[in-house]
């Protein structure tokens, strides 16, 4: 039963990490994308 508890615990950790990072990336990634476009436009201008 010890190993089943071990796998269960890792499942919870991995599921939560997956969900939380997704929320953060979704919110903050848009600003990153617009910054990338701005820099690419600058590079094209040069």
């Amino acid at each position: 039963m010890g190993l089943i508890f071990f796998w269960g615990l890792w499942l919870i950790v991995s599921g939560l990490a997956f969900a939380v990072i997704t929320v953060i990336v979704t919110i903050k990634g848009l600003a990153d994308l617009s910054s990338m476009f701005r820099e690419l436009r600058k590079q094209q201008g040069h």
Partner: protein, 514 residues
């Protein structure tokens, strides 16, 4: 047909938006650096999104769920290794930081900078061979997933067979991702990856909740323990896993996270070496879920459908009285447990995953063909450098070539019993040698070109042997065991590298003394 009208509306809307966003990327393509590494302007969050989206596809869900179905909780050991190794690489900057500092565009490029142009050409050839063979499994597996979940496998318009419908779905997937990858390169891939990451992650979380809710945690534990016993819980006791496989997996995941072309391209595209480390670290946490969650779906499918006759100790899945392949158990489960609307959302998420992976892989392998095979050959022949626009054109042609190969390989090659192991062994063809050569090149002063040649050749040989036809009866059966072959490929590459480097240095010293 399992799809309701609302499901089709969701899927078609997603495809339209994704294609439109992808085509937007063409505006920002000024030179080959924009095309291949997005002008090295990736920030942390988009970096995480594109790296995760690139390495999470329907193919990932399919092979991991098959792994979970066949190996129970023991399968989780592989996911744990992949995530923890990635976090370690990110925290320490092992290889990736140095790669980013060198401003590379492809992994084989490093071999010319450190060793020789000839070794870059050999590495480029092996990377393209292993990469394209690896991707050859994608379309057929993804096509199976989509036809089973949507119910298209039981739909026969104009008298078409199920196989013809499958080919139609594969062609459609390929055409859609080619449309924007060929035109917009890495910029398009990054834009669509972001949308696709959000969708696929939402779908992953939703499916995990639905699957556990329907199967029940108590039933899951009981099914695994009664079906597989101790082997289903402890990977060291599983005859198909064991320490040799786990050792191979550890080496393989170190090499994937550092030298795998599509992953490395994300590291090359980040704003700075520090950003590359952070992207790698945080994506490592996502990688834990990337493996464990679909494996859990496979275990849930085992719990719900694993009632058929045992084949190799694994119960065949039975759905509505019909025996199906273990690979198709997970999509069959989704078709049953998800309601209208949710099913469309999940399939859109899986399509997103499919397109993000395939577009990145098309770009990754075609960039190696153009930059590391065609360009060095031209240089050997004394031909002038190509302009940036001609290089982009060459990449686009290579893209089309890879796509056609993937389509035909998927249709005509019969995949081995466990798809995950096929993908691992084809990756090992170039990863064993390139990982050892890169580690040696960066961290060992005596590394030299002869060592690099021997590492690449011996690593590739070890991994190619089990893929040779069965009619080659002179090959010992132990070398056809994928676990042993994968582990030996890394061992052979290391021995070759050490021997070549030590011998090469001796020769150099002799030459200097003379």
């Amino acid at each position: 047909m399992n799809f309701a009208a609302i499901d089709w509306v969701i899927v078609v809307t997603y495809l339209g938006i994704s294609l439109g966003m992808g085509l937007l990327g063409k505006r920002y393509i000024g030179n080959v650096s924009h095309y291949l590494v997005a002008g090295r302007e990736l920030g942390l969050y988009v970096g995480i999104a594109t790296l995760a989206a690139t390495e999470i596809g329907t193919i990932t869900f399919m092979y991991y769920s098959e792994f979970g179905y066949k190996y129970g909780f023991s399968a989780f050991s592989v996911a744990l290794i992949s995530g923890l190794v990635m976090i370690f690489v990110g925290r320490t900057g092992f290889i990736v930081k140095r790669f980013r500092e060198m401003k590379l565009m492809t992994v084989p490029e490093y071999f010319e900078l450190k060793y020789s142009r000839g070794l870059r050409l050999l590495t480029g050839f092996l990377v393209a061979l292993g990469g394209v063979l690896n991707m050859g499994a994608f379309l057929i597996v993804e096509g199976k997933f989509l036809t089973v979940v949507s119910g298209l496998d039981n739909w026969h318009p104009w008298g078409m067979t199920s196989h013809q419908v499958l080919v139609g779905v594969m062609t459609l997937i390929l055409a859609l991702e080619l449309a924007y990858t060929v035109l917009g390169g890495m910029v398009s891939v990054v834009i669509t990856d972001f949308l696709q990451y959000v969708l696929l992650s939402t779908a992953t979380v939703l499916v995990s909740i639905y699957a556990v809710y329907h199967a029940g945690w108590g039933n899951i534990v009981e099914k695994v323990t009664t079906t597989y016993g101790r082997a289903g819980i402890n990977p060291f006791f599983h005859p198909d896993i064991g320490w040799v496989f786990l050792a191979w997996q550890t080496l393989l995941w170190f090499s994937v996270h550092t030298c795998w072309q599509t992953t490395a391209m994300r590291m090359f595209s980040t704003k700075s070496p520090e950003t590359s480390k952070k992207v790698m670290t945080w994506t490592g946490f996502i990688f834990l879920g990337r493996g464990m969650l679909p494996m859990l779906w496979g275990i849930c499918a085992l719990t719900l459908f694993g009632t058929g006759a045992l084949i190799g100790g694994v119960p065949s899945p039975v759905v509505h009285g019909k025996v199906i392949e273990p690979l198709n158990a997970m999509p069959a489960m989704l078709a049953q447990i998800l309601g209208p609307g949710i099913r469309g959302l999940v399939v859109a998420g899986m399509l997103a995953a499919t397109m993000s992976v395939n577009s990145s892989y098309l770009l990754g392998w075609s960039s190696v063909i153009s930059q590391d095979i065609i360009l060095p050959i031209r240089q050997f022949l004394g031909k002038p450098m190509l302009s940036s626009s001609t290089q982009i054109l060459m990449n686009r042609i290579a893209n089309l070539f890879v796509s056609l190969f993937v389509m035909f390989w998927g249709l005509y090659y019969r995949l081995p019993d466990v798809v995950y192991k096929y993908l691992n062994i084809t990756a090992t063809i170039f990863l064993a040698g390139s990982f050892i050569s890169v580690v040696g090149g960066i961290y060992w002063k005596r590394a030299n070109t002869l060592g690099g040649y021997l590492a690449m050749s011996m690593g590739a040989l070890g991994a190619i042997v089990p893929l040779l036809p069965e009619s080659f009866t002179f090959i010992p059966s132990i070398l056809r065991n994928l676990n042993v072959a994968g582990f030996l490929a890394f061992g052979g590459a290391m021995i070759g590298f050490l021997a070549g480097s030590l011998l090469g240095n001796m020769n150099n010293e002799r030459q200097r003394a003379a």
